[in-house]
């Protein structure tokens, strides 16, 4: 089938939206404030949802960030009337699957937003009910996300108060009639009750809840952190370890850095002062390498000769809300690319010229063009550029170098260049590009790097909607593996026969 002009535009729009949905979080960035980010993102969501609803829903299967996933779900549920029955069924599957992946606080926030928007149709209630039914321990949620669960239960008319098993009945009482029972059978609920007057019960509660009670009992923060450490999440432990200065032998031991995701770990490393990074160099490097190796998984060592140009200019410091996020992404990419490349065939160029990745700091201008020239001199098979796309020393040189390289020096395409951009540009409704000929993809977590490089290849040529659909189809099939009836929305309506579905698997 011949590609029409509209198809090309559709493909472009969807790719643009995917880039935005990966990077933008509605928070302040280095060069734009939160309001501009939100305004720009609002427009994109409305535009894509109205024009390409099936594709819009299918992006839930991609590695978009949680903020946008929740936004998409909310938008889909708000405009339920615009979808056909078939589309709705698929949307429902995708939403259910995505909700299962989202962190619970996000989901409760989404439920609150739905309530504020007065979305309370049967489908929404069913989604809500199913998600709550799948929670491993509703008692824990009732304590930790008390307001969230209460709002959700009230909004969807969930019968938490009158159930046969006993435990949900307790939860109903716990949330809506806290004085009714003198005792709970669920240990957490009971601990919460006792924590009002008994200091010892504090240490049975989740950390965030205990924090509130600690003030009431006059328990010092350090003492609290010391004793409650086993009940903290990994991130809470890392965070408090920094803020309270509790760095006992035991805490050190318990925060095992090697099991952390690589981007999170990179951000943690960047949050440490330089002298501490020097002191713990061996430990941090080992943890980063291990995390990168684990993330690379089956792709490890398959990328051949890789060169990376990584941006550690001042603008990579992000903003107060996304502190050092672009630099953290770049640092994580550095280690990840190190394990993706063939052993010993990886070289990195930081824009500031530093050779020690562990001691990078956001500093100085962005002479991206010169660094790209340095990297190209090594004749790599792949060149990966991680930068926010603001090339200022001199401006536009990177784009020119890449253009001349592609048109004059490397016509046969020995080197494949890809640009990964961690920052959403509000004015362009996309991530900023270096050159039209270089495929660009948004990136938030370095973990998604292999998948993003795949998407970026779509943006290189003039990819039509057909290939894009095929790609999304594959991703949707991978994402919703529990339901064989879920196929990519937007295909010719009709009951798909089994063979077609099997073929897609």
């Amino acid at each position: 089938m011949a590609e029409t002009f509209a198809d090309l535009i559709a493909a472009e729009d969807v790719l643009l939206f995917v880039n935005a949905a990966v990077t933008a979080t509605g928070q302040r960035e280095f060069r734009s404030d939160a309001h501009a980010q939100r305004l720009s993102l609002d427009f994109l969501h409305a535009y894509v949802c109205v024009n390409y609803r099936p594709l819009y829903a299918a992006t839930l299967a991609l590695d978009i960030n949680d903020h946008n996933a929740a936004r998409i779900i909310e938008t889909l549920l708000r405009g339920a009337g615009e979808a056909s029955a078939e589309e709705k069924r698929v949307e429902g599957r995708l939403i259910a699957r995505r909700l299962a992946v989202l962190p619970p606080q996000r989901v409760y926030r989404l439920f609150r937003a739905l309530r504020a928007a007065r979305v309370n149709n049967r489908r929404t209630r069913a989604i809500l009910r199913d998600w709550l039914a799948a929670r491993p321990d509703l008692g824990h949620d009732a304590v930790k996300y008390r307001r969230g669960l209460k709002t959700a239960a009230r909004h969807a008319h969930l019968p938490l108060g009158a159930s046969k098993e006993g435990v949900p009945a307790e939860i109903g009482d716990f949330l809506f009639a806290p004085g009714r029972r003198t005792k709970y059978r669920h240990p957490l609920l009971d601990a919460h009750r006792r924590a009002h007057y008994e200091q010892g019960a504090l240490y049975e509660l989740p950390f965030t809840v205990a924090e509130g009670f600690a003030g009431r009992h006059g328990v010092g923060r350090e003492a609290l952190v010391e004793r409650i450490a086993p009940r903290m999440t990994r991130l809470e432990r890392l965070r408090t370890q920094e803020s309270t200065g509790v760095r006992t032998e035991r805490t050190e031991q318990r925060t095992d850095l090697t099991v952390m995701p690589v981007t999170r770990l990179a951000l943690y490393v960047l949050s440490l002062p330089l002298d501490e990074r020097v002191r713990r160099r061996a430990e941090l490097t080992k943890a980063l390498r291990a995390a990168a190796r684990r993330t690379a998984g089956p792709y490890r060592g398959t990328w051949g000769r890789v060169a990376a140009v990584l941006d550690d200019s001042y603008s990579s410091s992000g903003s107060g809300e996304k502190r050092r996020r672009p630099l953290g992404t770049a640092l994580a990419c550095h280690f990840l690319l190190g394990s993706l490349a063939a052993p010993g065939a990886y070289t990195a160029w930081w824009t500031s010229g530093t050779a020690d990745p562990l001691l990078v700091r956001p500093w100085g201008p962005t002479p991206l063009g010169t660094r790209i020239l340095d990297a190209l001199e090594h004749a790599p098979e792949r060149l990966v550029i991680v930068s926010d796309g603001w090339d200022n020393a001199p401006p536009g040189l990177a784009g020119e170098v890449l253009r001349v390289w592609r048109t004059r020096l490397d016509r046969e395409g020995r080197t494949s260049v890809v640009h990964l951009n961690p920052v959403y540009d509000t004015d362009g409704f996309d991530v900023r590009r270096l050159a039209p000929s270089v495929p660009t993809a948004g990136i938030r977590d370095a973990e998604d790097l292999p998948a993003l490089v795949e998407i970026a290849q779509f943006a290189e040529g003039r990819t039509g909607i057909a290939e894009l659909r095929e790609y999304l189809d594959r991703r949707v099939a991978l994402f919703v593996e529990d339901d064989s009836f879920c196929y990519f929305p937007g295909e010719p309506v009709g009951v798909p026969d089994g063979s077609a579905r099997d073929g897609r698997r």
Binding site: F30, Y314, S315, G364, T366, L373, P394, V401, T407, L409
Partner: protein, 396 residues
């Protein structure tokens, strides 16, 4: 009459944000033995001048120049000498003060004695001065004493008190649209010792310091500086300016080395273009400079432009030069057209011994027109109305 000498400072590619273009100036190595710190006052200040006059103005900060040469070694700034550094004013808490503090500054430039508990015997090698106030005072004090010959056209006030009180208005950097954002997102170059601020591609201010660390500390102080009316207008009404992007022709590029040579040529081209086009009028103008203070082998001077009319940029400013006349510190203020006209009028009057008819002839205009011009420039109270009216009637 001398020109500004920016030897040792190289221009790096500009960074654009909206209508503001910031051009970094980089030193290969810092000026030896001279450092500059800021003292924050952040409020009104009453400044007592040498000639007994006193004026009141917003004084955000003062600079302290230190030519002892003790802080030039890297890493030594945090040592025991740190006690001698100027301290930043801080204010904590949300309480609003009941009264407005007025700092009293004795003199524009003042030698600093070493503080208590420090090596008292050492010679003082520090002085405090009020940046830009120094330059503006030079402009305001231009022929401030009034006519040197008491021709009958001049009023009694003019002869007795001169031009007092004279005033000029300026805008705070915070009010210059886009400047705050442009300074915030600006990426400071390694070794950067200065910046040229362009609004709507016309030079608004130049700022140079001796040491990169000083620049890093003083970069935000540009926001509290004074900017002329013209700068404010240009920033307010000017559209976003275009970036001068690098352009490389792909022709005849056969190797990577060739490509690199082209890229380097682009940087050189920008540096030359900037000097020739964007900063030409600042650098090629001859200035009348006056020495204000001598600090070791350095001199603090302020300078005035020749007040040439006809659309050319005219900057007043202050600078610290070394014994070879190279600039170690520079801060300029762009004059508006009205200010240039006033300066011009005063210079011509002074050059012709304050005679109105002689001045009118020199300006190739009539006596009546000159009187009108002086009125428009705000000097009307200095003329004796009756005498002037009679003269005009006589000449008709």
């Amino acid at each position: 009459m001398t020109r500004l000498d920016l030897t040792g400072l190289t221009t790096r590619p500009a960074q654009v944000w909206g209508g503001i273009r910031l051009v970094p100036l980089v030193r290969a190595e810092p000026v030896p033995g001279l450092r500059l710190h800021a003292e924050i006052y952040a409020g009104l200040g009453a400044v007592a001048l040498d000639d007994g006059t006193e004026y009141l103005s917003y004084v955000p900060h003062g600079f302290v120049a230190d030519w002892s040469g003790e802080e030039t070694e890297p890493g030594q700034g945090n040592g025991q000498k740190a006690g001698q550094r100027a301290s930043y004013g801080t204010q904590l808490g949300a309480g609003r003060p009941d009264t407005v503090t007025v700092h009293r500054h004795h003199r524009m430039v003042k030698r600093r004695r070493p503080g208590k508990g420090l090596s008292g015997g050492a010679a003082t090698a520090r002085c405090r001065f009020l940046p830009l106030h120094l330059a503006l005072e030079g402009y305001l004090a231009l022929h401030f004493g009034g006519p040197s010959v008491a021709w009958e056209e001049w009023s009694r006030q003019a002869v007795r008190q001169g031009f007092s009180p004279r005033e000029e208005e300026a805008y705070l950097g915070l009010d210059v649209r886009g400047l705050a954002d442009a300074l915030r997102v600006f990426e400071i170059h390694p070794g950067q010792c200065g910046v040229l601020v362009h609004t709507a591609d016309s030079l608004a201010a130049a700022f140079v310091v001796p040491h990169p660390d000083d620049y890093r500390a003083l970069h935000p102080s540009l926001l509290q500086d004074l900017y002329g009316e013209l700068v404010h207008q240009y920033a307010h009404f000017g559209a976003p300016v275009a970036e001068f992007e690098a352009r490389i022709s792909g022709r005849y590029v056969a190797t990577l080395a060739g490509l690199r040579a082209r890229a380097v040529a682009q940087e050189r081209l920008w540096s030359e273009t900037h000097g020739d086009v964007l900063a030409r009028e600042l650098l090629t103008e001859s200035y009348a400079s006056e020495r204000v203070f001598r600090m070791g082998s350095y001199e603090l001077r302020r300078f005035l432009p020749p007040f040439r009319r006809g659309g050319a940029e005219q900057h007043i400013g202050e600078l610290i030069t070394d014994h070879k006349g190279r600039t170690a510190y520079l801060k300029t203020f762009r004059l508006s057209d009205a200010q240039i006209r006033r300066g011009h009028l005063l210079s011509v009057l002074a050059a012709h011994d304050w005679r109105l008819d002689g001045t009118a002839a020199a300006l190739s205009t009539t006596y009546e027109e000159l009187v009108r011009r002086m009125g428009a420039a705000g000097f009307a109270p200095l003329l004796n109305e009756h005498v002037v009216a009679r003269r005009i009637a006589e000449t008709k």
